[in-house]
Amino acid sequence: MATLSQPATRGTAGSHDRAVIRVEDVHKYYDLGETRVHALRGVSVAIERGEFVAIMGASGSGKSTFMNIMGCLDKPTSGRYLLEEIEVSGLTKKELAAIRNRKIGFVFQGFNLLSRTTAQENVELPTLYAQISKEEGQKRAKDALELVGLGDRMLHFPSQLSGGQQQRVAIARALVNQPSILLADEPTGNLDSRTSVEIMEVFQKLNDDGLTIVLVTHEGDVAQFAKRSIQFRDGTIRRDEAIQNRPVASEVLKNLPTLED
C-alpha cells in the first residue's frame, strides 16, 4: 500500500493543545411544531491529531447529531465548534461546503457511491469541487484507490463490487482531498463481521499513518479497534475513556474463517 501524505504528518510540532476538533458546551435543539427536541445538552470534547475515536450510543442518544455538527452538515444551536482552530458556527453555507470538501472525509453506512459511475470517477468527485485539475484529480484518485487495496478495480461500477469493496471506494473518496479528519458514520453497519474487520484494518492502517479518525458505531466489538471511546446518552457524554487491550485488525483476520462460497 502506498502512503498518502496527511496534514497530520506535517508541521504540527509544538502545538499540543491544538486540537483538530474542539467542541465547547454545544447544544442542539430541533423545533418540531409544538415540541422542542433537545438533541445535544452541553457537549464538550477535544480530539487531537492522530486520534482514533469511537463514538458510541443508542439511537436517539445524540451521536448522529454530534456527527452532523462535526461534519459541518449542521450547525449547533449554541456553543462553540472549532475545526483546526477555525470557528465553524459563524461560516456561510458556501464556506461550510469548502470545509466539508477539503478538511473532512465522510464515510457512510450505506456507502453512498454514485451508481453507474466507476470507482475511479466516484473517488475523483471531491477533487472536482476543489478546483483541482483533471490530471491531478485522476492521479490522486488512483493513489487513494491503491491505498485501500482496490488498484485493480478502478473501472468497476459499484454494482460490480462487493459491499466491502464499495466501502473501500467510499474511504478512498473520503481521503482523496487529504482531509484533516475522517468521519465514519456506522461504516460497518451494512457489512458482515469479517468484512467489518477488514474495514477496521484499513482504518487502523490509515490511523497508523497519522490520519485522525472519528467513528460512530453502536457495535461494541467494532469500537474496540479504536483508541478512545466516547459514550453518548440523552444528549450528553456519559463516558470518555481510552480503550485498553486494543485488538489489531490484521491479527484478528488471521483467526477468522474466510467466507468463500
Binding site: K94, N112, R116
Partner: protein, 406 residues
C-alpha cells in the same frame, strides 16, 4: 468548479438515462423543428409575394373607373363611364411623374379553337401595356399600334388559355373565335402565375387591341382602367397625386365631392402583400411556438422527477463539498444541454421538413439563418427558464435530509 467539469457531469447524468433524455428532448425537437419549418414556409410565401409584385412592375399605378350611386344603390368599382381614352392621353402628357400609360377595357368571352372552347377574361389595351407591366412573350409578339388604329382582329393569349385550347399545337398564326369573330393569335405571354396580391390566375387572359374590343365586342367607348408607369418607384406617390388632381379637374369634381375613379399604387399593394405574408409567418411561428412551450414544460417535468430521484446523489455531492451554486449549476446545465441538443436536432428536423414541403407541396420555402439562430437562443432560454425551478429545488435541499432519503 469550472463549467467544463459541470458540463461533463451533466452529460454523464443524461447519458445514464438515454431513453428518458431522448423522450424529453423530443418535445424540444418537435417544437424547434416546427418553428423552423413554419417560419421557412412563411418567409417563402413573403419572398414569393414580393417577387410577384416586382414582376408586375413596382413603378406601376392602376387607375380604375369609380363607383356611382344610382337611386341610393352604390354600384361598386367600374360602374362609372367617365374614364375615357382622352384621360389616358392627358395623364401621359400632363403628369411629369408618369413615363407611360395604357388604356384598358375588359369583358368576359368564350374563346373557341377547333373543337375546344374556354371561358376567359378578355382585355383590350395598347401595345405599351406589356412593357408597363413588364410582361414578356414566350412566343410571338404584341400586336402593333397599327393594329390598334385599324381595330384589327389579332389577339395575344395567356399561358392558361394556350394550355387549355392548344395543348401541343403551336398557337402562333392560328385563328380563334371570340364571340364568333375570328382572331389571329400573334403572341403568347410568359406565365406570371397566381397573383399574390389579388389571388387570381393572371395567365387566364386573352388580350386584343382596345379599339377592336370597344367597337366590335362591347360597344362601349369608356375605359375600365388605365395602367400607368411612374418614372421611378419613389415617384409613384407623386404620380398618384398628380393623376388624382388631373382627373378631378378633367371630370369637374368639386372639392368635397368623392372621386369617380380610383388610383392604386402598386407600392402600396406590395406593402400590403408584405404585411399579409408577415402576419402569416407570425401566425405560423406562434402556433409552432406552443409546441416549443410544451416541450419546455416537459423538460421541467423530467427535471423535477430527476431531482427527486437523485435526492441522495445531491446529498452525497453536498457532503463531499458541492456548494448550492454547484448543485444548481449542474441541474441547470443538464436542462440547457437537453434543450440545446434537442434544439440542434430540431433544426435538422425543421430543415428536413422544409425540404419535404418544397418537394411535395411545391411551396416556396426560405430558410433564414436568423430563424435558426433564434431557435438556438430560444431553446436555450427554454432550458434555463424551465430548468431554473428544479435546479433551485435541488440546491435548496438540506444535505442531512438528502443523505437520509431512500
Amino acid at each position: 468548479m469550472d463549467v467544463l467539469a459541470i458540463i461533463r457531469i451533466a452529460m454523464r447524468a443524461l447519458a445514464r438515462n438515454k431513453l428518458r433524455s431522448s423522450l424529453t428532448m423530443l418535445g424540444i425537437i418537435i417544437g424547434v423543428g416546427a418553428v423552423i419549418a413554419m417560419v421557412s414556409v412563411g418567409q417563402g410565401a413573403q419572398q414569393q409575394a414580393q417577387q410577384q409584385i416586382a414582376a408586375m412592375g413596382s413603378n406601376m399605378l392602376f387607375v380604375g373607373s369609380g363607383t356611382v350611386t344610382r337611386g341610393g344603390m352604390r354600384m361598386g368599382w367600374g360602374a362609372t363611364k367617365t374614364l375615357i381614352y382622352d384621360d389616358m392621353v392627358a395623364i401621359q402628357r400632363e403628369c411629369p411623374a408618369v413615363s407611360a400609360a395604357a388604356p384598358g377595357s375588359q369583358s368576359s368571352a368564350q374563346v373557341v379553337f377547333e373543337n375546344d372552347n374556354w371561358a376567359t377574361q378578355l382585355s383590350g389595351t395598347e401595345p405599351q401595356y406589356f412593357s408597363i407591366r413588364t410582361w414578356l412573350f414566350q412566343e410571338g409578339a404584341s400586336f402593333s399600334q397599327d393594329d390598334v388604329e385599324t381595330a384589327a382582329n389579332v389577339a395575344v393569349i395567356g399561358e392558361t388559355v394556350r394550355k387549355n385550347l392548344f395543348g401541343a399545337t403551336d398557337p402562333i398564326g392560328e385563328t380563334v373565335r371570340i364571340n364568333n369573330l375570328p382572331f389571329k393569335v400573334v403572341g403568347v405571354l410568359a406565365a406570371k402565375g397566381t397573383s399574390a396580391a389579388m389571388g387570381n390566375d393572371q395567365d387566364d387572359i386573352i388580350i386584343v387591341p382596345i379599339t377592336t374590343l370597344q367597337k366590335k365586342i362591347t360597344g362601349q367607348n369608356w375605359l375600365r382602367w388605365i395602367v400607368v408607369s411612374a418614372v421611378s418607384r419613389e415617384a409613384s406617390y407623386t404620380a398618384q397625386q398628380q393623376i388624382t388632381a388631373l382627373l378631378r379637374d378633367r371630370h369637374r369634381i368639386r372639392s368635397g365631392q368623392d372621386d369617380d375613379f380610383m388610383v392604386r399604387n402598386l407600392a402600396d399593394m406590395a406593402d400590403l402583400a408584405d404585411q399579409q405574408a408577415q402576419l402569416f409567418t407570425v401566425l405560423l411561428a406562434s402556433i409552432a411556438s406552443i409546441s416549443l412551450l410544451v416541450g419546455g414544460i416537459g423538460i421541467m417535468n423530467i427535471m423535477l422527477v430527476s431531482v427527486t430521484e437523485r435526492t441522495r446523489e445531491i446529498g452525497i455531492r453536498m457532503a463531499i463539498g458541492a456548494t448550492e451554486v454547484d448543485v444548481q449549476q449542474q441541474f441547470l446545465i443538464e436542462a440547457v444541454v437537453l434543450s440545446l441538443v434537442g434544439g440542434a436536432i430540431g433544426i435538422a428536423f425543421g430543415l428536413a421538413a422544409s425540404y419535404v414541403i418544397t418537394q411535395t407541396l411545391q411551396w416556396p420555402v426560405l430558410v433564414s439563418p436568423a430563424a435558426i439562430l433564434a431557435a438556438v437562443v430560444f431553446s436555450m432560454a427554454v432550458g434555463i427558464f424551465f430548468g431554473f425551478y428544479p435546479a433551485r429545488k435541488a440546491a435548496r435541499l438540506d444535505p442531512i435530509e438528502a443523505l437520509r432519503y431512500e
